[in-house]
Every structure is written in structure tokens, then in C-alpha cells.
């Protein structure tokens, strides 16, 4: 699905990713944890093709395509989805108009006709129920006036609509109360399949109680320094990151 080799990226003069390796196979759920400033969100942005970051080295293969050569739109249309840590508000553009533009963009890429109005509405209804996104939120402007939890649910709704092959969730749990966390996690779990992979970026083990990962990676200073199973997350929760930092430096 995704193979990253020695990825280096910087913003301005500072190098954030310093030779990161990661392989994600179809159907796997990977979690990335790490202290503040270790490069977790940078990794998400670089994968999604944000141009603020300069890729200075390494390779990334996504479904046999050279990911780093593709623009952000092409990456999205090829099946890479990023659930934003801070979803953006777009005043005056209704949520469902936005989704329709997105879905039709993807369909055009796949050589399909734009989706018919009725089929689209049915799809919206079905996917919105996954994250309990009511009609009011569907018709409002994209994320405008949404609460923190509503924004995150909206991200998962969009993911469900676009049915990506690889979904990167960037701190989707931040700012969620326990009910919203459960709703979001259920939405994600209902989409797990042998064809679809997830990269879950989080600070806290809490989310991983709900979305059980196959692998947990620890990112420190721009590199993955340790990989384990879901029990690694528990260990991190208990002991913090310092002991890992120490083992890395020693």
C-alpha cells in the first residue's frame, strides 16, 4: 500500500523528518505516537502533498505510484485521505456541495460520470449515519460554526464518502469528549477492511482502545525509533517517552 524510504522533509531551514521508514500493507492499521514536535503532523502533511514542506530526500511509493511526484489533488483522487487535525471552515459552501465536488473529482479520475443527484443523496444519508451527522450539519457551510467534535465527525463522514485506500488520521482524537471519541472510532472501525489501511497519528493511548492498531510506531526527532504491537501504546502511556528517547541516544 505505502512504502516510505528514508523520507526527509523540512520547513524553512529546519529539517523535521530525518530519514523516516515505514511500510503499510493493505488492511493494516498503524498508529504513530510521539512527543510534541517529533514530526507526526509533518508526516501527515507531507504525505498529503502540502507544499509548505520541502521534501529533501527519500521515496514514497503509494500503490505503485511515486507519491512524491504527485500533486495533492492527484494523491487524494488516487485514494489517499487526510483527516485534518484542524478541519478548515469554508463559509458559504455547503457541506454536501463540497462533498459532491470532491466525489465527482474522484469519479472523473476513475473515468466515471458525475454521480446522479438521487444516488448522491442516498450515499450521503448512509455515510452520515455512520458518524451520527444529522441533516443540519450536512447542509451547513463546511465546518462553519461546528463544535470540535462535530468537525472531527465531519472528517470521518467525508472519509466514508470518499472511500479512500489509505486514510491518515491526524490527531483525530484531540478535543473529543468520550462520546464523540466513541462515535468517531466506530465510524473508522466500520470502514476497516482487508483492502483499506489506516495511519492513526495520536498523542494518547486512549484512541487506541477503540481503534485497535496492528502496529504502533514511536516517532522521535523525525525518525521512527521503535515499533511494536498495541501493547507498546500501553507501555508509552505508563512510562512516557523519555525512556525511549534515552534508549535512542544511548
Amino acid at each position: 500500500m505505502l512504502t516510505i524510504n528514508k523520507l526527509k522533509a523540512s520547513i524553512g531551514d529546519s529539517e523535521i523528518l530525518k530519514g523516516l521508514d515505514l511500510t503499510i500493507r493493505p488492511g493494516e492499521v498503524h498508529a504513530i505516537m510521539g512527543p510534541n514536535g517529533s514530526g507526526k503532523s509533518t508526516l501527515a502533511s507531507v504525505l498529503a502533498g502540502r507544499e509548505d514542506y520541502a521534501v529533501t530526500g527519500g521515496k514514497a511509493d503509494f500503490l505503485g505510484l511515486d507519491l512524491l511526484e504527485m500533486d495533492a489533488t492527484a494523491r487524494a483522487r488516487s485514494g489517499l485521505f487526510l483527516a485534518f487535525q484542524y478541519p478548515v471552515e469554508i463559509p458559504g459552501v455547503s457541506n454536501i456541495n463540497f462533498m459532491r465536488a470532491a466525489l465527482n473529482g474522484k469519479r472523473a479520475h476513475e473515468g466515471l460520470e458525475p454521480i446522479a443527484g438521487k444516488a448522491f443523496l442516498e450515499l450521503v444519508k448512509e455515510k452520515a449515519s455512520l458518524v451520527e451527522l444529522d441533516g443540519r450539519l450536512r447542509n451547513r457551510s463546511v465546518n462553519e460554526g461546528f463544535s470540535g467534535g462535530e468537525k472531527k465527525r465531519n472528517e470521518i463522514f467525508q472519509m466514508a464518502m470518499l472511500e479512500p485506500k489509505l486514510a491518515v488520521l491526524d490527531e483525530t482524537d484531540s478535543g473529543l469528549d468520550i462520546d464523540a471519541l466513541r462515535i468517531v472510532a466506530n465510524g473508522v472501525n466500520s470502514m476497516r477492511s482487508s483492502e483499506r489501511s489506516f495511519l492513526v497519528i495520536t498523542h494518547y493511548q486512549r484512541l487506541l482502545d477503540y481503534i485497535i492498531p496492528d502496529f504502533v510506531h514511536v516517532l522521535v526527532d523525525g525518525c521512527i525509533v521503535r515499533t511494536g504491537g498495541k501493547e507498546l501504546a500501553l507501555e508509552l502511556e505508563e512510562r512516557g517517552y523519555d525512556w525511549i528517547k534515552e534508549t535512542v541516544t544511548s
Binding site: A76, R77, F84, P91, R100, G105
Partner: protein, 482 residues
């Protein structure tokens, strides 16, 4: 479903430059360049006008000669040479047309290209059209059907002949000759335009529309529109405009007057798409237009404009709220790209008691263009309990463009409530990236964001026009974010 139409519009947006830049090869009757009494007499004679009309013109010319072109707008351009242009150009055609079949086929093809079908298409959508090319109105549809309701909808030339009492009563009553340099010029040399009268208590059953087209080179267009809504009547009026792509600057100096008598309502919508000049600022229309309406008791006038064209725009559609409880509204989206300049806004003059006005202005500047909002809210001593709400937003697409706001507020009655909100923002890279990450390409993303930004105004347009306007916004901003 609301999203249906809008989505279709956005899908239709493709990489297009100015779409209406063609010229029609049609034999034209054109006056020699220059402005003097003889030319004015010639125009009047061509139109077989009564003496009072000629006198009005000559008086206006005398006034104009004493006036100076305004220099206060935030605009920089070379003033036109008023002696170098021609003041009359008319497509040659048979003297009097009895039906559309007699219209020159070349003209019909032009209308077709512009998307104005005088026949079937408009019959279906129920819009009556008056088509003005260069100096004359060439065709008006649905006259007979409207006539049954007592509605008069015809060219200004015909109105002068057939309804002199209405013209004498109302023409110049809202925008007097000496109002400003361009209104005086227009009063002297106007060649045609549209006239509309809605009788007492009649709700006009269809949208009335005038389509203005400049075709000839070396000419200016000076049309005059007068809409009179008698007591308790309603009309929605649309105006569209395009011009060929030329290297010269052409002058468009129009006057629009609206009269809303007691309890009447006029909704006036404009999609202005005059040729804006090329990317280097060469050519394009100088759009110097005076638009004003007067509201009598409990009357309402609503101006909606989508301005995307013209090299230079100078235009302030205004409302005189004379009657008690009258309402004035102004909704505007002004887009400037490349080297375009716009100085536009409104005036709300509150005279009557309990008068209300609303101003929503959305400026969008791209390229190295300059976009100014200039508005006056004036509360006269007699305007007890007047209310105004103004919101002026500016969106910058580039670092090299400029947005300016010049709000003037004069309150002479302490019971007034006047609110003014203004914002300036740069198009969010976060917003664009968010769209890109969802698989929406850059052009489409900008179109979505800009249309969303302008939504409060676009929502005021009649459906058919809204579609047009959304397309236009996207096209006007082609390639504006790198």
C-alpha cells in the same frame, strides 16, 4: 435541491478567457467623431424626436460643457477624448420591424452567440428581453403579452414617441442632468435604452431584461433606462452587458433611473461583463454609470450587481428613501483581476421616517487590480428611526492587488441606528489545501471558495442570473492563485 444547480454551474467552468470578445460584421450607420450641437441635433433627428426632447438634450450639453470629469475616485486612467469618439452607431436595418423574422440574420446570430434567444428559449424561461446594440434597441420580445396587463416594455426611443407624458414626467426626476459629469453627458447624447412602466397593482409575471452590447469600434455607448413601478406593483429587472475585445478603451456612460411609487417594489439585477482589457491593461470598457432609484411610501428598491468586467468601473447604484417606511437594499460582488480598477458602492439617502437600508458588498481583488468600496449612508433630520446595516468585505487573492473601503456616514437625526462592519481577508491557503486534499482541483477550489464568499449576494439574484454569475466569477478569476 439547492446544491443541484450550483454544482452544475461549477462543473461547467472550464479554462476560458473573455468569451464575448467577437465582433459582428454588420453594416452600421455611424456618426462622425466629435461632440457638438450638430451631432446632438443629428441624433435627435435620426430618432425623429419631438422638440422638447431635443431641447432637453441641448440644455444638457450646455450644462456638461461647464462640468469637470470627477477626479475623486480611487482610479487612475487617461480621461477619454470626448471629441475623438462617435456618439451614434446603429446596425443598419429596415426602418420598422414588425416581427423577429425581419431582424437581420447576422444580428440574430449575434444574440445567439451571446446566449440571448429572443424566441423559444426565453419563452420557456419567461424572460422578456430588450436588446440594445451600440446606440439602438434592436428587438424587444413579449411586448404584446405584457401589453395585456398594461405593462409597457419598450426601447427608450419608442417610449419618447409613444409615451411622451411618462417620459417627460419621470426622465431626469431621479438623476437630474446636472447630477454629475457623466449624467449630463448622457442626457445630451443618449441614444436608446429601455423603458418600463408597471401599472398600479400589477405584479409583472416575468423577468424583464435588457441586454447591452457594444459592437462598433470608436464609439461610446450612452443608454438610458427608466423603470417606473406604479403604486403597489412589482417588477424584477435584469441587465447584462458585453463588448468585443479591442485595444482601445471604449466609454459606457449610462443612466438608470428607478421610480417606486407607494408600496411598489423594484428588484434590479445586473451582471456586468464588459470587456475588461487584456492582462496588461490594454483596452477595455470605461464603465461610468449613474444608477439611482427613489422610493415613495413603503416602497422598496433592491439593487443586486455582479461586476466582473470593465477596465475601469465608476458606479454607485443608490436609493433615495423619500417615503416613510421605505426600504433600500444594495448587494454587490465586484471582482477585479489583472489591471482592472473598480470604485463602486452605493448611497442610501434616508429622508422618510422608519426607513431601512441594507448594504452587503463583497469585493474580490486579484492580479494587480484595485478594488474600492465607496458608500454613503445619509440620515436626514426628517428620517426618524432610520436604520442601516452595512457589511463590506474584501477578499484578496494576490499580494499585488488592493482592496480599499471608503464608508461615509452622515447622521443628522439622533434616533438613527447605523451599523457598519468591514473585513479584509486573504484567500486562505488552508482552505485551498483542504479542497485539494479532498480531490478538488485548484481552479474548482477557488471557484467554490469565492462563490461561497459571495453567496449572500448571489442568493439575491434570480435563479437564471445566479447561474450565469457563478460561472462568470470562476472565469474572471481563472489562474489567479499560483
Amino acid at each position: 435541491m439547492a446544491y443541484d444547480g450550483k454544482d452544475k454551474v461549477l462543473e461547467e467552468v472550464t479554462a476560458k478567457a473573455y468569451e464575448f470578445g467577437f465582433t459582428t460584421d454588420i453594416e452600421s450607420d455611424k456618426a462622425p467623431a466629435g461632440l457638438n450641437e450638430d451631432i446632438i441635433r443629428m441624433i435627435s433627428a435620426k430618432k425623429n424626436e419631438p422638440d422638447w426632447m431635443l431641447k432637453t438634450r441641448l440644455d444638457a450639453f450646455e450644462v456638461w460643457k461647464t462640468m469637470e470629469e470627477p477626479e475623486w475616485p480611487h482610479l487612475s486612467y487617461t480621461q477619454p477624448d470626448y471629441q475623438a469618439m462617435s456618439y451614434y452607431a446603429a446596425p443598419k436595418q429596415k426602418q420598422k420591424l414588425n416581427s423577429l423574422d425581419e431582424v437581420d440574420p447576422e444580428l440574430l446570430r449575434t444574440m445567439d452567440k451571446l446566449g440571448i434567444s429572443m424566441e423559444e428559449q426565453k419563452r420557456l424561461s419567461g424572460v422578456a428581453v430588450d436588446f440594445v446594440m451600440d446606440s439602438v434597441s434592436v428587438a424587444t420580445s413579449f411586448k404584446a403579452k405584457l401589453g395585456e396587463l398594461g405593462i409597457i416594455f419598450c426601447s427608450m426611443s419608442d417610449a419618447v414617441q409613444e409615451h411622451p407624458e411618462l417620459i417627460q414626467k419621470y426622465m431626469g426626476s431621479v438623476v437630474p442632468t446636472r447630477d454629475n459629469f457623466f449624467s449630463a453627458l448622457n442626457a445630451a447624447v443618449f441614444t436608446d435604452g429601455s423603458f418600463c412602466y408597471i401599472p398600479k397593482g400589477v405584479k409583472c409575471p416575468m423577468e424583464l431584461s435588457t441586454y447591452f452590447r457594444i459592437n462598433e469600434s470608436g464609439t461610446g455607448q450612452f443608454e438610458r433606462t427608466l423603470v417606473v413601478a406604479d403604486a403597489g406593483s412589482y417588477v424584477s429587472y435584469l441587465e447584462g452587458c458585453t463588448a468585443p475585445q479591442r485595444d482601445e478603451n471604449q466609454l459606457h456612460a449610462a443612466v438608470v433611473e428607478l421610480v417606486a411609487l407607494d408600496n411598489a417594489e423594484i428588484k434590479y439585477s445586473t451582471v456586468q461583463n464588459w470587456y475588461p482589457g487584456d492582462a496588461d491593461g490594454k483596452g477595455g470598457i470605461f464603465n461610468f454609470v449613474t444608477k439611482r432609484g427613489i422610493c415613495h411610501t413603503r416602497a422598496k428598491i433592491s439593487w443586486t450587481q455582479v461586476e466582473t468586467g470593465s477596465a475601469v468601473t465608476w458606479k454607485y447604484p443608490s436609493c433615495i428613501l423619500k417615503g416613510d417606511y421605505s426600504v433600500g437594499e444594495f448587494y454587490s460582488v465586484a471582482v477585479t483581476n489583472n489591471a482592472q480598477q473598480a470604485d463602486t458602492g452605493t448611497k442610501m439617502i434616508h429622508i422618510g421616517r422608519n426607513t431601512h437600508s441594507t448594504i452587503i458588498s463583497k469585493g474580490i481583488s486579484s492580479g494587480r487590480s484595485q478594488n474600492s468600496y465607496r458608500g454613503l449612508v445619509q440620515i436626514m433630520p426628517s428620517a426618524e428611526n432610520a436604520r442601516n446595516f452595512s457589511q463590506c468585505d474584501s477578499l484578496l487573492m494576490t499580494d499585488t492587488s488592493g482592496a480599499h473601503t471608503f464608508p461615509y456616514i452622515e447622521v443628522k437625526n439622533p434616533s438613527a441606528k447605523v451599523e457598519h462592519e468591514a473585513t479584509t481577508s486573504k484567500i486562505g491557503e488552508d482552505q485551498i489545501f483542504y479542497c485539494l486534499q479532498r480531490g478538488i482541483d485548484a481552479e474548482r477550489a477557488i471557484s467554490l471558495i469565492v462563490n461561497g464568499y459571495a453567496k449572500d449576494v448571489l442568493n439575491q439574484l434570480p435563479m437564471e442570473f445566479a447561474v450565469e454569475a457563478q460561472k462568470l466569477l470562476a472565469i474572471s478569476l481563472e489562474g489567479s492563485v499560483g
